[in-house]
């Protein structure tokens, strides 16, 4: 499976994503420069964390207009898996590939720490390797990660099961005390309606080896690989036939 890791000027988790992805058997990860215009030959796309264009103006606002984003939109429309992590999530929201927006953390500080999140649905290409109700320990690191959306949009994404991860306590309890940044409904990650685009503020690539404190991030990449092998691989098979 071939992952494209997009590098915007100011991306800084690009190398971490490649390192984490390549720890999976059968995965190849390559950098794609923001000035490129094609994602030919890639099976999945990662928009990594960082501060694209310095995150000046608004996080992700300028990256949205990068040449490569047209290809990302195309890949999403073709049903390829697209994951946006942290700044990547912000870019996906700014690009309207995902609903809602990310605003300043409730306490106005940048926050880097391990947090817990509950798997709200395992029926997805991004959480399929886990179990519904499981509690994952994955770090966050952001200053503007409070998820918000208009009430009718929120209702819609909740109803359609688009919320895949919610911040919680060690025992899975969801509430104000277990909400690190003020996200509405403790939302940590959402998918699009079609189910092939996913954005989350936590950094799964930072939780892929025991020496760094947790391996729960592996579930997310593993889920993508499984989903691809099930559907993506057959699709290519059909095309080949």
């Amino acid at each position: 499976m071939r992952f494209a890791v997009i590098r915007f000027p100011g991306s800084n988790c690009d190398q971490d994503c490649v390192l984490a992805l390549e720890s999976f058997e059968g995965v190849e990860a390559s950098y794609v420069w923001h000035k490129d215009e094609s994602l030919e030959g890639f099976d999945a796309v990662v928009l990594p964390g960082g501060f694209s264009y310095g995150d000046y103006l608004r996080c992700g606002a300028i990256a949205r207009f990068s040449p490569i984003m047209k290809a990302v939109r195309g890949a999403a429309a073709d049903g390829k898996l697209v994951i946006g992590i942290c700044n990547g999530f912000q870019i996906l929201c700014e690009s309207r590939l995902l609903p809602g927006a990310l605003i300043r953390n409730r306490d106005l500080h940048f926050l880097c720490r391990h947090v817990f999140m509950r798997v709200e649905s395992a029926e997805s290409s991004f959480t399929g390797a886990g179990e519904k109700g499981a509690v994952w320990n994955i770090p966050i690191a952001h200053g503007e990660g409070a998820y918000c959306a208009a009430p009718e949009v929120l209702e819609e994404i909740e109803k359609r099961g688009q919320v895949l991860l919610r911040y919680c306590g060690a025992g899975g309890e969801v509430g104000e005390e277990t909400n690190p940044n003020g996200s509405v409904g403790n939302i940590a990650g959402i998918r699009n309606l079609e189910g092939n685009v996913f954005g989350l503020m936590p950094h799964p690539e930072r939780a892929c080896e025991a020496g760094l404190g947790s391996t729960d991030g592996r579930f997310i990449f593993q889920s993508m690989i499984q989903a691809f092998r099930k559907t993506g691989a057959t699709k290519t098979g059909e095309e080949a036939a």
Binding site: A101, I103, R104, N105, C148, A149, P151
Partner: protein
Amino acid sequence: MKVIVTVLPKTTVLDPQGAATAEAMKHLGLESVRGVRVGKSIQFEAQGADEAKLHEIARDLLSNPVMEDYKLEILP
């Protein structure tokens, strides 16, 4: 011509910065303060730009309609 775009968080959206600023203002003795919103002011020169283009930029780039409203002023 000079262009001023003012971008403010929608009133329905939580504005933690506004809330913190209100607190600080009260602390400094401005008891009566209410409804504080903290937004952006983007000012520039753009010779001969057309208004539709300016609106497009204010809407698509300078603000995010999910959470913000903008106001465009064109000064001679």
